[in-house]
Symmetry: C2
Subunit: 240 residues, 2 copies
């Protein structure tokens, strides 16, 4: 189903054909974690939720594959946090930005940024660097689902806390992020929204404790271990 | 480069858009084996070479991704074995079969089968089952690069020895095949042709010994272990 959504996105012009290859890579990694939200991903989601709740100016980035896969889910997350979504593309074209913004508005988004960027993220090519004041540009915490390593690093270099969603625990994005949720975006985004709802009544001190206790490297290590364990298990189970 | 070739194949109409997703999945698994032909893959290539040299009627199957990625290499392999190539598609259309056959002829293929199939492989949907007498249909050994599990199983059920090239050692294709080369087709096919050349002067008894000593399950287990080791290594190396 995810595959059909991305193929549909390519057909309608809001996902690039590179997005299909990215989808295939994602399928492979998802298969390696048995297509389930792992224990380490749940820890990461909890830390990400606390971080977003503590944030003064959180921002949510949306690219072509995110728009294809989880438009309603991203809108629900934005609603829960009472913030806009911001369209941000690797292969930027004004037409694609508009298509994605329209798609998000059709999915119920009240405010979508990214059509009129007014600032640039230092250290990136101009088209990649475009961002919006009041959105990603001056956010203190940014959620970047399915983002590349360069952009992740550039946002971290600006002093932001970056929450990535990336199925590859070895990717540069995963490693450079402040928190990385190693999970399929289709499962991770609703889970994140639900967790934010659950944690929203906690006092700030409890949220701070969750963030402080989160160990990024340990969680990534655990994600790698989960893949290794799963490879062994699948191999044993299936081979007669 | 491989990615561009597949994208080009989609544009020219001989690769399906599903082929782009398959390419992405392949990239992920190739990354997991550090984009190198592993020790276990070399063993599999050796066994496959001996099996093809011992075969009375070997056949070589070509689909859209194979045609996009290694047209000249498949022609060179066919030349080395003095046999034709046979076009065989998952999403068969007469137009795509013709485009692929033309592509292979342009790459130097002397004889290409598959445009006029005259037999069916039992146990598959009609379009998937089509095969050619003198080619895959009555072959004793069939090479199926990048093939799905159903077709692999159906060919094995006909009593054929099946050599797969598949980057996923857990796939049904890998498990059901007689020999599976867990490697990128771009590296594996030239390596196979070279190995056949090297082994072609050996007496049949030596070739038989190579085939007998090959342990399919052990080699697949080794491929899984190589992925696990590589995950640990990459994780350690890259994370500061």
């Amino acid at each position: 189903m995810a595959r059909e959504r991305v193929a549909e996105g390519v057909k309608k012009g809001y996902t690039s054909s590179q997005g299909l290859i990215a989808q295939g890579r994602g399928e492979c990694f998802d298969y390696l974690i048995a297509e389930k939200t792992t224990a380490s991903a749940k820890e990461a989601i909890k830390a990400a939720s606390a971080m977003l709740l503590l944030s003064k100016r959180p921002a949510l980035s949306v690219n072509g594959n995110v728009a294809a896969l989880v438009p309603e889910e991203m809108v629900a997350l934005a609603e829960e946090l009472c913030i806009p979504l911001e369209v941000n593309l690797f292969h930027r074209s004004e037409e694609r930005v508009k298509k994605i913004a329209d798609l998000l508005r059709a999915a119920g988004a009240k405010k979508v940024l990214g059509e009129r960027p007014d600032a640039t993220v230092p250290g990136l090519d101009h088209a990649r660097a475009l961002a919006t004041r009041g959105g990603i540009y001056d956010a203190d915490v940014v959620l970047i689902p399915l983002e590349d390593g360069d952009r992740c690093e550039a946002l971290v270099a600006m002093g932001k806390k970056v929450i990535a969603i990336d199925l590859n625990p070895l990717s540069r994005t995963a490693k450079k992020a402040t928190v990385c949720i190693v999970d399929n975006i289709v499962r991770a985004v609703p889970c994140l929204t639900e967790q934010i709802r659950l944690l929203s009544s906690l006092p700030r001190s409890d949220l701070q404790k969750i963030v402080e206790e989160y160990d990024h490297k340990k969680i990534l290590q655990q994600a790698v271990q989960e893949i290794q364990d799963n490879l062994s298990r699948q191999f044993q189970e299936d081979l007669e």
